[in-house]
Symmetry: D2
Subunit: 360 residues, 4 copies
């Protein structure tokens, strides 16, 4: 039972609403003696921070994180790490129009049906603002993984499809991802994507995206049958991100179309070095990491808050329309990149720690 | 921490190996006073049972279930329900060849790396035989849902894509699904699929599949933000099924390509009856059921055990080849149909019960 | 796996160190639509607050609580409630002497052995200061119970034994408990206890205490076999309080000395009203509440921080002595009264909510 | 949420009713490569087995255990271990009289109130027969601990008080415990206890008991603040045993009467060997093991099923009386000895494994 908690051993619990005084998270199960300072977390938060380009919401949040507990003289102590980020640029009045109306594609209707009450300001708890707390938790997970797994561990994420436009993932370049406003790994697509997204924004519309995450240097043996398969925990993690509606591991949905001999990755050994001929499995066999690169991708649906007028009802059951004029990302998928990276970091660390208990 | 347990409130724990004496599960958290007899479970198990057509493994298992506890005078008592299925038609000798070899695409390598030991006979714990225990648990969940939600509740699953061949899901006919060997819902495809699968079997190859599950009569309000979103728990459930590599809710991966106005389902009301204009959300908004049909699909990779010779290594690190001659399904995806249906039933019941605690 | 989380459905996670910037907790699983304001929580916190009499530590903490999330327009929304209390009167320098020494009877030695690092200032995470966060969570639980169970629900706790001096529990008077510095329910003992505790304080020593908690108006049916027995969860709750070393339900340890006919409470019915002849069971039979008064007691060991010199070692393995001169309670048991009450409130609410999922 | 599951990482789930076909348990989280055969478990089950002396119930159960999964070629594989014990000597007719009556001191009334149905035969799920499954799980835990901690690890339990008669625990002799019908560790009391228990049985009455468990060779560092304190998990474990109403760690309830200087165990070091001057803490400080002997005791109330006539009501609300003539232990506390030992073994292993994840 863990509605607002993620993880089994390395666990974080998030709290906070979009227009409340603050948001934050508690991390429990972090190993002791890990060097950790606020700046380590801030670096990651800055990637997700809104207002950095014209292609994301213009809400201005410095997203300044404070460590309130669990760190002593620069090192983790093994006790819970409490992180807080104060909300700054809230314009709750922008949301008066949706106080009683249910925005199509949003959680408004279902929250109201379930709880009989909802903090409508900025989406309240269902706002993507919650993901800042995940990025903070992921930053801590990354620090631990880097210490435990050493330099061979590396995780990277990017937008590999923007609406109807894909990119060439063989041209993946880590260095450019956070240097372009689309978090695209393929330099050759930047101009094309820019033009495309500008046209969408201009039309008052929005588009979806596919995000891919790759983790290298993950040792074999992480994951656990049957209901804690690495695939299973990763899918759960990605689907918990706002607006995500599909998850693939390795060849994912496409594996349905492959033949047995195309799909199963052959194994060979050369000078004590094992090699797979391909990676349709996305680095996971039987729910357990094989030592190959972990490859995960997920689809983020297009932003539901659009300028175009949409039919809906209000909480009194009357038909009405809505056109959302607040500050919104034309493609929420872009800022999901650091979130996906953070979530995968947390899943990997969780299983790394559990594997110690299981098999050491 | 629940490696072999699924669910939060309605929980089942499975146990057993493919060639051990038996397999089974314990269901904890089942409400009392539900009518339950072995036959209720047997009906569902018979759908998954192997050896029913030439398109599934020829292993002959009667999959006869016994209820060992938790039912008194024909009704559940609220105490744990223990179910057992004895294994019958095991031919462990068939597996001597894989004792030391790692089959490509299988869990052999990763289990050995993790545990340093593995029961190789028939795949041991990683065998799809484990899914029989899930189908049994799902049968109990269905009985409870039918009592609690009444006749409007209905769940149905089918293969909607066999390898490279899709079918017309608008022609979905519940009545034919378990009456054809492909669990296909579209009568018009049966001949074509038969020819296709015969050719694959003849070639000593295998193919993947996409399974779709639809649940109607699910009330709004099931699911919970943030890390117990209905999408999240469903994705975790489906990805825990053997050989599943991708999961979609509603429009799923395809939602990345839609515009905001195409994707967000408009709402209207007529005579106190609410209606959505479409169902890209697959019946789930913000992680909570909206009352619309729940739509889930997942991809099963092609059977990794094929006749065609494949390169691999053995546990001593030597290069070798393998050609699997045991009894295998040319498309394991087919028998995943009742498994997916069972898993979704369990997730829905789990959230139905939790919602009582949360909001009643 | 929940090192810093308590509860199964109504869950709270605490964080913070004695001399860090703040302490707090996140409550998850609180039902929506409960009226809640900071003052509701403050009232309970004020009972536990230090510095209120000469018999408690002179550390001055206003223990001012802030609600950071989960409440909208005065009502809970069903989302996590984040509470924060800033630390104020910290004198970390008082603790320089224990930086390297392990105080006998304290967690110093074991924390260091386990984690290889410890925040020694004021006991860090192992300080009883953490219990303020529990009292805050308990205040919320009480508000929910009062709404759900109505006026018949009442919970009350008191010190029933101070060191070697008991009191007459048949004279239990709720109204005086928080009006005397010993949280004693028996007016006739106040003078005697005062004299006793003054002499202990003067001697630079300390004493233990027994706390009793009584809950009325608890409906039958709360609790669950086998490993979530109400007794089991209550024992776990009480033993998690700092310095607690023994827990009794009803006749408790004393039940070993009773005969079968003395111990088992007879049942009779009069005009549709059921009655038990006695309450050795403390209101719990087979782990499930019977509708009788719930009676729990627990022992708090004497404060380990005393003026008298004690032998110990330092972290370099050298023999030394220690005499603790900081600000300490001569009897930590006294301030455990509102903590025990809070913990029992949380356990009862947790089971009340779970029972809805199990049996409604 | 784990009604019938105990443990966090090393977890076991029990199932079965007193008069159902069988009882059993599933162990999840057991490390791989541990030598395990049925006889290892049988040895422990034989200690708890009924019908071994005139002082326990005359029900004849061979309590023969079968391993159904999780062990391959004599070693654990890391997958779930399923254990089953078939019930044999059931005389369900003996229980017809209690079909509609609630036995005072039993779970009859509360189960019926909660679930609206109960398997009354032999107490159904609330029967102490369930504890056989725990002893089986404990036997596995012990095997693991012995492998991981080596020969220095030793756990032992005994009855230290029978009704009103204590014994001299300084005369504790492991070798005699399971060789006398009272599981008494003090040879000098055997005759006296025999005479006492005979007189109780003759009078158609029953008596309670106190059981003490001691574990040596437990390394420092096991346990976790705050809500997984070793004390807390041990208290929960003991209180989950049928008829237990009080739990002490170290000085337990008695610690309330000690002064600070009497209670806190002084520390000293001699030739690199650390020593405590006493063990009031029962080997646990701040919830974490100190390396000292772990000392736990708990009280078992007298058997509620007695020959003497007792007032009660039936399920129709009518006043009646009951006199239980079935086969019962005059002191159920005796057979709780191997159960307590098993539960402590499980808690210690659980924390041993978790500590690897936390701090290795």
């Amino acid at each position: 039972m863990s509605f607002n908690t993620f993880g089994k051993f390395f666990r974080f619990t998030t709290w906070g609403e979009s227009h409340g005084p603050a948001i934050g998270c508690i991390i429990d199960g972090c190993p002791p003696l890990i060097q950790l300072k606020e700046q380590d977390i801030q670096i990651e938060l800055n990637k997700r921070k809104p207002g950095q380009s014209k292609f994301t919401t213009q809400r201005k949040e410095s997203d300044k994180v404070q460590i309130l507990s669990g760190v002593f003289e620069g090192k983790t102590t093994g006790t819970p790490i409490s992180l807080i980020i104060y909300n700054e640029d809230m314009r709750s009045k922008d949301y008066n129009d949706i106080k009683d109306k249910f925005r199509p594609g949003h959680a408004d209707f279902t929250y109201f049906k379930k709880y009989g009450i909802r903090d409508y300001r900025g989406g309240g708890r269902s706002s993507a603002r919650e993901t800042a707390a995940r990025v903070a938790a992921g930053a801590v997970a990354k620090k631990v993984l880097e210490k435990k797994l050493g330099k061979k561990f590396k995780i990277s994420a990017a937008v590999t499809q923007l609406g109807i436009l894909g990119c060439d993932t063989t041209k993946w370049d880590d260095k450019i991802i956070y240097k372009n406003p689309f978090f695209c790994p393929d330099k050759s697509m930047l101009k094309i994507w820019e033009k495309y997204l500008l046209s969408i924004r201009k039309a008052g519309s929005s588009c979806g995206a596919i995000i891919e995450i790759r983790a290298n240097g993950v040792p074999p043996g992480l994951g656990a049958p049957i209901y804690s398969k690495l695939d299973s925990d990763i899918a759960s993690a990605m689907m918990s991100i706002n607006a995500v509606k599909g998850v693939n591991i390795g060849s994912g949905m496409n594996s349905a179309q492959l033949s047995g001999e195309e799909n199963s990755d052959e194994i060979s050994q050369n000078d004590k070095k094992m090699k797979f001929s391909s990676n349709n499995a996305g680095g996971i066999l039987g729910g357990i990491s094989s030592g190959q690169e972990i490859i995960v991708s997920f689809a983020v649906k297009p932003t539901s808050s659009i300028l175009k007028s949409r039919k809906t009802i209000n909480k009194f059951g009357k038909n009405t329309t809505i056109s959302v004029t607040g500050r919104h990302d034309p493609c929420v998928g872009i800022r999901a990149v650091p979130v996906g990276e953070a979530m995968l970091s947390c899943v990997l660390l969780d299983h790394y720690l559990m594997n110690k208990a299981q098999c050491s």
